[in-house]
């Protein structure tokens, strides 16, 4: 019984996930049906929750940037950052966007161009709207979600010396009850969201790796190959957990970031450079001026399908992904001040993603807008997996770009899977920094299995729906977390003021 109590978070979250997997394997149709109905009701009834919460996170992060809490250092007053600012920023960028940014950077603008949220498709206006919404989905909002959760985790871990678990962020509200059933429920929900967020990413990653192999080596682009990719990758990172190759993983993730930047610069120079620059400026303007409209757009008297399959999916995915990224960001941000943290996690990566999207989206839109390329646009929108490789085919140095792109996706896949097992291990053992290898391996197998099941049950759509459903409770947890964080910061300011002089001479 004692043992169960100790490991209750791990056991319960494992059981929940296992039930889901078994369901997916044996009652595939039933699962697809259920996820679809969840999907529909999430559009009809709960879309506003995601929109409201996410906008709130943006406002809250910007408030923190200018608040009096900006000078609080994460960690002891004397702590220095572990990483240089440059490598810190690139790690944040890699962790936050990873596979997704490669997957969607061409597909999303082109798909919006062929099916815009409003207005006529295949027009100049549609192209501008497409870029605007791409900026919106990859801009301030996801990074604000990461800022909130990363800051809360880092603050309670480094300043209050609490375990590295999501429940620790509720200490100002719950007190020592974070170690009791309420805290454990929070941790279980966060694990559940994380497993789905990661499975979605791994699913996308497997589709992307398969597409890359199809483009380069002409290997068939089928579900079976996708499943093989998942199995092989699982073997690889389980070996790395057991043999202490973790250091190698670190080098790999650095390599992925360097390669990504190289690809971006290469496209910037061989592609339509001037268009890209124009797109970047123009879309930034559109994004800033229409930010509120896009943030609250729900289309009450019409059909909300577009919003559900794009905006809501992204918000849910970012939230599901947030415990994982937040944990990672917190881990690398010791010694930064709150202000530095918000600038580094909210502002700089937003500029980075916008630049990335301008380069990929801008060049892709320039390409599909050329007369006679309408079919190409349609082709890209219909074969999202292949989109980036299709796009590379139309650029100079296409085979080099394809190979680089494939390498980046493959590396991101492995590093994300590996880091995820570590984070899940930490979360499920009450926030210890020494998760055991057995638990890490269990999660490694589980997350791969879940990704496989979701792909098997219907690919992208099921992936999207599953993460929307799993993220909902966690969205509400995160809103409460903001208030808890605020309370903690307030208390810290008082403590720090008190430290300066606590003896009164009478």
């Amino acid at each position: 019984m004692d043992k169960f109590k100790q490991n209750s978070v791990f056991i319960i979250s494992l059981l929940l996930t296992l039930i889901f997997i078994i369901w997916g394997v044996f009652f595939t149709e039933n699962l697809t049906k259920l996820t679809n109905s969840v999907y529909k009701s999430s559009i009809d009834y709960l879309g506003w929750v995601y929109l409201g919460a996410t906008l709130f996170f943006v406002v809250f992060s910007i408030y923190l940037l200018f608040s009096k809490y900006g000078d609080i250092r994460l960690g002891r007053k004397t702590d220095k950052p572990d990483f240089t600012t440059g490598s810190w920023l690139s790690m944040l960028f890699g962790a936050g966007m990873g596979i997704g940014i490669v997957y969607w950077s061409v597909a999303e603008p082109v798909t919006h161009y062929t099916a815009p949220p409003y207005g006529k498709a295949y027009t100049v206006d549609a192209a501008n709207t497409a870029m605007k919404y791409t900026f919106f989905h990859w801009g301030l909002d996801p990074w604000a979600i990461y800022t909130v959760i990363g800051l809360a985790l880092a603050f309670f871990q480094y300043n209050k010396r609490l375990p590295a678990a999501i429940s620790s962020a509720f200490h100002p509200i719950l007190g020592d009850r974070i170690y009791g059933p309420i805290g454990k429920t929070i941790d279980i929900l966060s694990i559940f969201a994380t497993v789905f967020g990661i499975a979605t990413s791994l699913g996308l990653g497997a589709m992307q790796v398969t597409a890359g192999m199809h483009a380069i080596f002409r290997i068939p682009n089928t579900l079976v190959i996708q499943l093989v990719v998942i199995v092989v990758a699982t073997f690889l990172f389980i070996i790395s957990i057991n043999t202490g190759l973790e250091k190698g993983i670190k080098h790999l993730s650095n390599a992925a970031i360097i390669l990504s930047v190289a690809i971006m610069l290469l496209i910037l120079f061989v592609g339509p450079t001037l268009t890209v620059i124009k797109v970047f400026f123009n879309t930034t303007g559109l994004y800033i001026s229409d930010f509120l409209h896009m943030s609250l757009r729900l289309n009450p008297f019409g059909e909300g399908k577009w919003i559900a399959s794009w905006t809501l999916f992204y918000w849910a995915w970012w939230i599901a992904w947030a415990p994982f990224v937040g944990m990672f960001i917190a881990r690398v941000s010791k010694g930064r001040t709150v202000r530095e943290f918000v600038i580094g996690v909210l502002i700089v990566p937003t500029l980075g993603t916008c630049l990335w999207m301008s380069v990929f989206g801008g060049s892709a839109l320039e390409l599909v807008q050329k007369p006679g390329n309408r079919d190409l646009a349609k082709n890209i929108a219909e074969n999202v997996n292949l989109s980036i490789f299709t796009f590379f085919d139309y650029l100079p140095l296409s085979s080099l770009l394809s190979i680089l792109g494939f390498a980046v996706v493959a590396i991101y896949y492995i590093t994300v899977a590996d880091t995820a097992t570590f984070v899940l291990g930490m979360l499920s053992e009450g926030g210890t920094l020494n998760p055991s290898n057995k638990i890490k391996m269990t999660w490694g197998v589980i997350q791969s299995a879940l990704a496989a099941v979701l792909l098997f049950a219907g690919g992208l759509n099921v992936l999207q729906t599953a993460s929307i459903a799993a993220a909902l409770p966690f969205a509400i947890i995160m809103v409460v977390m903001c208030f808890s964080l605020l309370r903690g910061l307030k208390n810290e300011v008082e403590v720090q003021r008190g430290n300066k002089r606590n003896v009164q001479h009478l």
Binding site: R331, V332, D418
Partner: protein
């Protein structure tokens, strides 16, 4: 010709004394950056003039003016220093070979240091304060021509191997064995004699006696 590759973290002898490599900058003539463990001063040299030493159990050495013996016979406890001699960092950990850290909490699988690294019990050697009688001193490569007195850092620290080493100008101390509140600042240091504000004058050792004086803070520390 020595074809030895120096790596960050290694313990090496340089000028007969024990140092740790804290950085290697290839391409430079003086590429090896060292820190002397005895007093944490920085030095720079090249790979040819250092000799590697792998620290093992029961070695004793001076780190930051205090003597420690490396032990492997018990688990670390909160507040202990550890030498990470066998690092296997997890993906999100940030430590490397031969880093010296302070233990904050201990659990079954490992320790968590004050830098919040999770370190398993097989990754480190405990640095037990003091020089164990049967230990193997590794401060010097060749002990023969070193005067005995020098071996233990001018002898002074034998008395107080684990206490804080020294006060510095501006430190504020509170007198503990006094009825009314006495707070003083270190205004001058002359050898072993410390001059405190208000005309107090006492020896370094006396000020370090934690029963009598308690360090408060230093207003110049930021």
């Amino acid at each position: 010709m020595k074809l030895y590759q120096v790596r960050k973290g290694q313990f090496v002898y340089y000028n007969n004394e024990l140092h740790k490599v804290y950085g290697v900058k290839p391409m430079y003539k003086l590429s090896v950056h060292l820190i002397k463990l005895r007093d944490l001063t920085q030095h720079i040299t090249n790979a040819a003039s250092v000799e590697r030493y792998i620290p093992r159990e029961n070695d004793s050495f001076i780190f930051e003016h205090k003597i420690y013996t490396l032990k492997n016979n018990r688990k670390a406890e909160a507040g202990d220093f550890i030498l990470i001699n066998n690092p296997a960092p997890d993906t999100l950990d940030h430590y490397s070979l031969n880093e010296i850290e302070v233990v904050e909490t201990v659990d079954n699988k490992g320790v968590i240091t004050s830098d919040l690294n999770g370190i398993r019990h097989n990754e480190y050697l405990l640095m037990a304060p003091g020089r164990a009688p049967d230990s193997h001193p590794i401060d010097y490569q060749e002990v023969a021509n070193i005067e005995v007195e020098d071996l233990d850092d001018k002898g002074r620290l034998i008395n107080n191997p684990s206490g804080e080493l020294s006060s510095k100008l501006g430190d504020i101390y509170k007198k503990k064995d006094s009825e009314f509140l006495v707070e003083v600042m270190v205004v001058a240091i002359k050898g072993q004699t410390i001059f405190l504000g208000g005309g107090l004058e006492l020896s370094q050792e006396e000020l370090m006696d934690t029963d009598k004086w308690e360090f408060q803070y230093n207003p110049f520390d930021k």
